[in-house]
Symmetry: C2
Subunit: 180 residues, 2 copies
């Protein structure tokens, strides 16, 4: 759990990062920035800040903000309702992102992970501003920002966060939307 | 038709507008900016510059650049292959966009259109940076930038430009990708 103060501070930092990246938000959007600690209460290490632009049955688009070295833990988007599951493209807008997915493990990965975490896929793609990568449905992936943090656009099919399958059994996706 | 020089000049202007909006492109993306004159050879009046980030069977994301007062002519995205047709969200990133779709006509619309054009829907939505609007499938719409031009992100289902239905019978969608 995060305190109300921690959530407010993270929203402000995320709004600042988006403004520095030249991304305009409405006042309502700033107030609705989602702060996710994945139930682990170590937001600066494992967490994510999100602005959801649109999420219909067919299309979803978001802006993701990662603080310096903050990481989004390993997960996949399983099939549901007759669909193959969420397909998503990550496009780096500012900073650097180290993205890991299924494939040949990278020898000297740039990410630094907590020793008690669960990370099983290590095929690294480094995304700098203007670079992007598409994750197929039902494919394990996780990512971490570099030392300056990052802003990443996500273009995808419908987001159903409640269906995400995390590799670390401690993570409860239901706790993602924390506003305590 | 546009000359090779006109296409190159429009690409350069569009890349400049994107850079001013803080949007990073790779060199390959700059070279592949699509310049659309809709077959009418009046690019500054009726035209569009596009960067297609991703266009799979399920998801599409693009950046649209409009020069000052440049307009994208009226069209709709019809059903195909058992889908309801393209659903798209326009999000203004820089400048101002006057967007028109089906609904009660706006009394004093801000757009200025050529007298020989075909524009049948006049329900106006003005989008400033950070504002967005979703066009349902198979719904007539068109848009024009304000005096400073505009950069607009488009989040949608699959783009099938070849299926677009334009209100102006002079427009041939097949001529959109001009590189003469």
């Amino acid at each position: 759990m995060l305190s109300r103060q921690e959530v407010a501070a993270a929203r402000e930092r995320a709004a600042d990062a988006l403004a520095r990246a030249g991304i305009a938000l409405t006042e309502a959007e700033v107030g609705a920035i989602e702060v996710a600690d994945f139930g682990l209460s170590h937001l600066d290490e494992i967490g994510l800040q999100l602005v959801v632009y649109v999420n219909t049955e067919r299309v979803c688009a978001k802006e993701l903000v990662l603080f310096p070295r903050q990481l989004c833990p390993e997960h996949r988007h399983p099939p549901f309702d007759g669909t193959p599951g969420k397909e998503e493209t990550f496009r780096c807008r500012a900073g650097v992102v180290f993205l890991y997915s299924e494939g040949h493990p990278t020898a000297r990965p740039a990410a630094r992970v907590p020793s008690d975490g669960v990370f099983t896929v290590w095929h690294e793609t480094v995304l700098e501003p203007g670079e992007q990568y598409t994750i197929p449905p039902d494919t394990l992936h996780w990512f971490q920002a570099g030392d300056e943090g990052a802003v990443v656009s996500e273009f995808s099919t419908q987001s159903r966060d409640d269906l995400d399958v995390f590799s670390d059994p401690r993570i409860r996706r239901a706790t993602l939307e924390v506003d305590g």
